[in-house]
């Protein structure tokens, strides 16, 4: 669902208001960059994706139509772009991404360190998932898309989207458990 804030900004963007674009950019840039990085596994490819998506958003000013949600629209554009750049780079993501950190404030430096290690382990495990499972997991948890929106975007059934998510969770659970055991 489009929030009233997003609906207003889209309307203003279609009137050529660059401030509307800036507000949309400020609101979504960090989340979309994190999604791009988790999908592609490379900062340079993630930068390409993010730049392309938001510059195209500016290009579409005057003619932008968003039906579901702005988050969904941007995520869909990002996903398509990520697939393109990965295909051009001649690879899918199989290596872990080390750039991601944890954004929540921690009560103490030690707690922050523990949380970062856990996030790093999660990121490493994410990189080992098949691409479709990784996409569903990231779109649901990072881009905050409902499974129905993910299914529409990936052109799969709702059941398959749930299935891929379940497999992703099982594999992450298993790999994160191995990480803990190896660390003992």
């Amino acid at each position: 669902m489009l929030t009233s804030e997003d609906r207003r900004w889209i309307r203003e963007l279609n009137q050529g208001d660059r401030e509307a674009w800036r507000r949309i950019y400020e609101k979504y840039r960090v989340r979309m960059f994190t999604v791009a990085l988790a999908l592609t596994g490379r900062p340079d490819l993630a930068e390409d994706c993010l730049q392309d998506v938001f510059v195209r958003l500016a290009e579409r000013a005057g003619d932008l139509k968003v039906r579901s949600s702005l988050s969904g629209y941007l995520s869909a554009a990002l996903l398509n772009r990520a697939r393109d750049v990965l295909r051009r780079a001649g690879r899918q993501v199989s290596e872990p991404v080390e750039d991601l950190g944890c954004s929540s404030p921690a009560p103490s430096p030690l707690d922050r360190l523990i949380r970062d290690e856990q996030v790093t382990a999660l990121v490493r495990a994410l990189g080992q998932l098949p691409l479709e499972q990784r996409e569903v997991f990231i779109l649901h948890n990072q881009a905050r898309l409902a499974f129905r929106a993910i299914a529409r975007q990936q052109e799969i059934s709702l059941r398959t989207a749930h299935s891929r998510y379940r497999y992703a969770i099982e594999k992450l659970r298993s790999r994160l458990c191995k990480e803990v055991n190896h660390g003992r």
């Binding site: 050529g16 500016a58 001649g90 954004s103 948890n141 052109e155």
Partner: protein, 285 residues
């Protein structure tokens, strides 16, 4: 949902990374450039306005509704994919034994230089954790040519009528021809080892059952370039046939054709022991 899943999801939701300042500046600069050339969309032309008036006509509106329904139905069929490889992986995990029936190109060539196909059958039983083949039996042109019961291996040369016996198992494959095989395919696809990964759908003319056909290529091996076509039954999710070419472009007749795949929970041990053919020489190695 259990606590571990919640923890993983919470961690994922908290992942965040700031943009490098240079990227931030670059994006804003390029977006600003777009706004320099922004043009407000023109008012609809007379033709467009007349088109909208015509659409208000009752008859045209009904036709438009049917067109929309047809379009939605079309997209529903093409978008509502009925098969996913993960479902096949899950379905395969229930079976520990398999029979593959088909044809394999002989290594010798006929007089005109073309490869000859011979009918082949392969039975295989997985080891306990389904990570490899424990028992294996191969028949070619109706004759048993190799069998292993996991401890001993018999090879038969029908031309010489000789049976070679080894006191060790034969490794037919370094992975099980089931869920593990397709999980490995997924991993290799994600690493770019498998390319041109494509799925199409069809309906079997004889049974009317829906099929999903996966084609993919391995231009650099391992161990050598090849291309595959694997057909899955959409309802059961199980692979039902396979073709493999020893080139990366599906060129020419396939070198291996598995026309029928039968799945079992297990197979009798008797199947994997060799009955020595009459008059055959037995050589212990």
């Amino acid at each position: 949902m259990d606590a571990e899943q919640e923890r993983i999801e919470r961690l994922a939701q908290q992942m965040s990374v700031e943009l490098p300042p240079a990227l931030d500046e670059r994006i804003q600069r390029e977006a600003d450039a777009q706004f320099e050339t922004f043009k407000q969309p023109a008012c609809p032309s007379w033709a467009q306005r007349i088109g909208r008036i015509i659409m208000k006509s009752h008859i045209v509106r009904i036709a438009a509704v049917f067109a929309v329904i047809a379009a939605v139905a079309f997209f529903h069929q093409t978008g509502d994919v009925a098969w996913a490889l993960e479902e096949s992986i899950a379905a395969l995990s229930h079976y520990r034994a398999v029979l593959l029936e088909g044809q394999e190109s002989e290594r010798t060539w006929s007089e005109d230089g073309s490869k000859q196909r011979r009918p082949s059958k392969y039975w295989a039983v997985a080891n306990a954790d389904q990570t490899g083949i424990e028992k294996f039996r191969a028949e070619a042109a109706g004759a048993l040519i190799l069998t292993t019961d996991g401890r001993k291996t018999w090879r038969y040369d029908p031309d010489a009528n000789v049976v070679y016996v080894e006191n060790r198992p034969y490794t037919a494959s370094d992975m099980w021809w089931g869920a593990q095989f397709f999980e490995q395919m997924q991993t290799w696809r994600d690493k770019g080892i498998f390319t041109q990964w494509n799925v199409t759908y069809s309906r079997d003319a004889a049974t009317a059952r829906e099929r999903a056909v996966l084609t993919c290529a391995m231009p650099d091996g391992p161990p050598s370039p090849r291309s595959l076509e694997i057909t899955f039954d959409v309802e059961s999710k199980l692979p039902i046939s396979l073709k493999q070419w020893e080139n990366p472009t599906w060129e020419g007749p396939a070198d291996l054709v598995i026309e029928k795949i039968t799945y079992y929970e297990t197979l009798s041990d008797d199947l994997f022991e060799m009955e020595i053919p009459e008059g055959a020489q037995v050589i212990e190695e």
